[in-house]
Amino acid sequence: MKSIITEPMIPKPFRIHRKLKETHDTYTIELESTNGADGFPFSAGQFNMLYIFGVGEVPISISSDPSMPKMLKHTARSVGTVTKALLNLRRGDILGVRGPFGSHWPVEEAVGNDVVIVAGGIGLAPMRPVLYSFISHRDKYGKIILLYGARTPEDLLYKKELELWRGRFDLEVKVIVDSASGNWRGNVGVVTTLIPRIQFDPLHTVAMICGPEVMMRYTLKELQNCGIKNENIFVSMERNMKCGICLCGHCQFGPKFVCKDGPVFCYDHIKELFGKREI
């Protein structure tokens, strides 16, 4: 689904409909347009610039279902001035939304293939829309596997949905945490160690990775070891984005701009840039 943004630098007012606590420092906020009739078409993987009046603007991935454009959801972690202010807003408060910006996950290109999704930490947020899309068109895909790594069991996002997804016979969901107390019955270790435990057809698999860059680096290696081709691996990059429309240059990534050419890139197109210290 392609949206047409007529005035990309002008924020549209949205009202906070609900605010859900995901972890001690991460919330999902549900936004509805102040003009209730307006939908907000977007594609899985795109992001919005959220403007907290008087504080500033921050790029946040859309984490809701693309087939339900009237309710926008964003999951954000309180790490800086703007995200702290964002997460201090309450139900009924108004904020500005610009977007949607950027590229999207290859949902259509993956049709007929197995899909391996690897998410780390808050990287599950931009993956949730793609999971919704796959689930709603489940018969179009082969195996769908989600591997999700987090710091501790308390840091897992979307716990209820994870349970629902794990309960489905047509999804394979494996969760792993870096450390846990003795009460945790799940996996402990790094997300890359889950890759040898899953089975898929490497020649007909599309892999999508989102998480901290170092995690993506090691995940790439494991997926390549399994035989997935670079052109079938997609990563979501993160850089400091300001304008969202490729004007300001803040998010320059070599010859590319993360806000417009990304955030979702085919790994084959950025393999020379990925992991370079100078970029």
Partner: protein, 152 residues
């Protein structure tokens, strides 16, 4: 009677091993099973076996007086549990607890150490394979130490 040989011959850890060496290993192997919550090994105890997990899930734990048992890693089907049997003084460095009903093949450490001393080719083969496992675990541990999901 079915022996463990067909399973061990196909296991990734032992695949490609010289048949003579595989026979020696099969001679030191036995089937074992553990209930959920049962401890397989305890820190400080003598490392009398190592295990190839056939089915189930095992937590490697370190006990701390203030936080209780901390799980540092879980391993499962196809993984190898334990390398302290290779390194003097042959004592476990952590606890291992089955968190699901777990079946495994136990390899008698004393038996294997003696065979490795007699046949250095077997010893070298096993060490190479364990070095690979240890390297993978070390890489994973380094990544865990980076705390990549934390706020930095």
């Amino acid at each position: 009677m079915q022996t463990l040989e067909p399973y061990l011959a196909e296991h990734p850890f032992l695949k490609g091993l010289d048949p003579h060496h595989l026979n020696i290993i099969v001679g030191c192997a036995s089937n074992v099973s553990f209930d959920a919550e049962q401890y397989i090994l305890h820190e400080g105890e003598e490392a009398t076996n190592f295990y190839i997990i056939h089915q189930g899930k095992v937590a490697l734990e370190i006990f701390t007086s203030d936080r209780g048992p901390i799980t540092i890693q879980t391993i499962g089907e196809g993984d190898v549990l334990g390398w302290s049997w290779l390194i003097p003084p042959y004592h476990w460095h952590y606890d291992a607890r089955a968190i699901e009903p777990t079946s495994a093949i136990a390899l008698d450490a004393k038996c294997l150490r003696a065979k490795c001393e007699e046949d250095h080719d077997l010893g070298y083969e096993l060490l190479k394979r364990f070095a690979h496992v240890i390297t993978q675990r070390l890489e994973a541990t380094r990544l865990q130490l980076l705390d990549v999901y934390g706020v930095h």
